[in-house]
């Protein structure tokens, strides 16, 4: 195996992630605007927003601690790492051995803890409220996410993401009811984790209904830019993960430029379709009351458990 090449590949994955993530968010916003019969913002709007925010001065609250200032970097680093270990362009990146499904959940959790702490750091009521809600969602979503991974692991008999994706990508055509269940559960978890409708509304201006936005109300300037960027990265990581687990076709096994030429267009195409579907889901569903969110995630958890049970019952050889 060409180590140098795989390092390049890994680097390429990171760069793709950093660049493509705002684009994906922009695409989703554009689709939402179309579906809502509104004039769509330009596709590259998000880059301009980031650029603007990076230029702006950071305004800090008087009682902000160092945690508040460090949190955006942590969150961004976590999300960048997460999008690096999710197999997107190749199933054998050098970070492959580290790309454990459970570790991935841990990385997401770490980011969440930091954003919640930062939200509470200033002591405003909205920040605390957002942090509390975020932790509520997180504590309900994580088990469901883990269950989805376990189902995939049971099928492929490994918790390593690259092995899972390899195994799922190479199987002969066979219908896996369990994967269908897990896919629905994963979609529900992704919606909740990425602060999308029906759990949260990313574009809301009403503080009382906010979850994610409420936590970052106090951020400005480059801090805000990093957090927003991290949010797009999270969406990107989740989308790639979903695609890798449930539509793994097109991710090449080996390394090499030829493979890359296949992988990149496939990824772009799948992300475009996935983004459109996300926008569609958001358009047709209404935001749930916050007290219904546990029910929503409970359903996701249940589906994930069902997926595992169905796998054990229907898909194990006797």
């Amino acid at each position: 195996m060409n180590t140098a090449f795989s390092v390049i590949l890994q680097f390429l994955e990171l760069v793709t992630a950093l660049l493509a993530a705002p684009l994906l968010t922009g695409w989703v916003n554009q689709c939402r605007a179309w579906l809502g019969n509104r004039t769509a913002p330009p596709l590259f709007q998000f880059y301009r927003q980031l650029a603007k925010l990076f230029e702006k001065e950071v305004v800090l609250a008087a009682n902000a601690s160092s945690l508040f200032r460090a949190a955006p970097y942590f969150i961004f680093a976590c999300m960048a790492l997460a999008s690096m270990i999710v197999p997107t362009l190749s199933t054998e990146p050098p970070f492959g051995p580290a790309a454990d499904a459970i570790a991935l959940v841990g990385i997401f959790a770490l980011a969440r803890v930091f954003s919640a702490l930062a939200g509470m750091d200033i002591g405003t009521s909205f920040g605390t409220l957002g942090a509390r809600r975020e932790m509520l969602i997180g504590f309900l979503a994580e088990p469901a996410l883990l269950m989805v991974f376990f189902t995939a692991s049971l099928i492929s008999q490994s918790t390593s993401l690259s092995t899972i994706v390899q195994a799922l990508g190479q199987r002969e055509f066979a219908i896996y009811p369990s994967l269908a269940f897990a896919g629905v559960a994963f979609t529900m978890v992704s919606l909740a984790e990425n602060a999308r409708i029906p759990v949260d509304n990313p574009t809301t201006h009403l503080e009382l209904t906010m979850i994610h936005e409420a936590m970052i109300l106090e951020y400005s300037g480059r801090h805000l830019a990093l957090i927003e960027w991290a949010a797009t990265l999270k969406l990107y990581a989740y989308s790639c993960l979903g695609l890798a687990l449930f539509f793994p076709w097109g991710i090449p096994e080996g390394t090499g430029f030829a493979n890359l030429l296949v992988a990149l267009p496939a990824l772009v195409f799948k992300l475009a379709v996935g983004g459109f579907l996300l926008a569609l889901i958001e358009t047709v569903s209404a935001k749930l009351r916050i007290f219904r969110a546990p029910e929503f995630l409970g359903t996701a958890f249940m589906l994930a458990v069902l997926a595992m049970l169905v796998h054990l019952l229907l898909e194990t050889a006797k």
Partner: protein, 226 residues
């Protein structure tokens, strides 16, 4: 393959497994459903799944009488019974939300336990079966249990009846998919019973409402031993 992707089932068996999983999913959806109209639609979707699975079994095993039972399923469970239910709720004017006696997440968790229970119960039996889609027996049993749970946790008459019909769906699925169909005369009889039962229940709803001005069966807890 070496990775555990060893599904060497024939294609039709995979389709039936998928349909079984969908039946289970629909049962859970019914358990979680708050609105009575959606409940009827879910029941209809169950009917479609049953129709599809029966038709697939019929095609795969080349048993002609199963085509007939697929047809009966289509007519009865996809068109007739939902139509009667729709008419009933329109005539009775009960489109409001369903009240549950236990909150829905708890119900779902109980449902999950029931599924595990029925899978375990069905496991030794499935192992003995000669049919290739034997694993679906566990799912059918789970669907029956979930419908039972739905009947227990709903306080209104109409959802209870839908639960009752859903239970019959689970049984029917057990009969077609796990055992490749009962003799025709039995299936006809069962279909007739379900239909007559539905009509009688329809009459019954009107009687209940006339008497209690509501279809809430919590009004009907007077008969006790004291």
């Amino acid at each position: 393959m070496s990775t555990g992707l060893h599904l060497d089932l024939p294609f039709y068996a995979q389709v039936i497994n998928l349909l079984a999983a969908m039946l289970l999913l629909l049962s859970f959806a019914m358990l979680a459903q708050r609105r009575i109209l959606s409940l009827i639609n879910l029941f209809m979707a169950q009917g479609v799944v049953l129709f599809a699975s029966t038709a697939v079994v019929a095609a795969a095993t080349n048993q002609h009488h199963l085509y007939w039972s697929a047809l009966i399923t289509l007519v009865l469970k996809v068109f007739l019974l939902p139509w009667i239910l729709h008419r009933l709720i329109r005539r009775l004017n009960v489109k409001w939300d369903i009240e549950t006696l236990i909150n829905i997440p708890t119900t779902m968790m109980i449902g999950l336990v029931l599924v595990i229970f029925s899978f375990n119960l069905a496991l030794p039996i499935s192992a003995l079966a000669g049919t290739i889609t034997r694993s679906t027996l566990g799912i059918a049993m789970a669907a029956v249990m979930l419908a039972f749970l739905m009947m227990i946790t709903r306080s209104k008459a109409v959802p209870q009846v839908i639960g009752f019909l859903a239970m019959e769906n689970g049984l029917f699925f057990a009969a077609t998919s796990a055992t490749y169909g009962m003799p025709m005369v039995v299936e006809l009889g069962i279909a007739l019973d379900v239909l007559v039962g539905m009509v009688i229940l329809g009459v019954f709803f009107f009687q209940i409402r006339e008497q209690f001005d509501s279809l809430d069966i919590r009004h009907m807890e007077k008969l006790k031993d004291d």
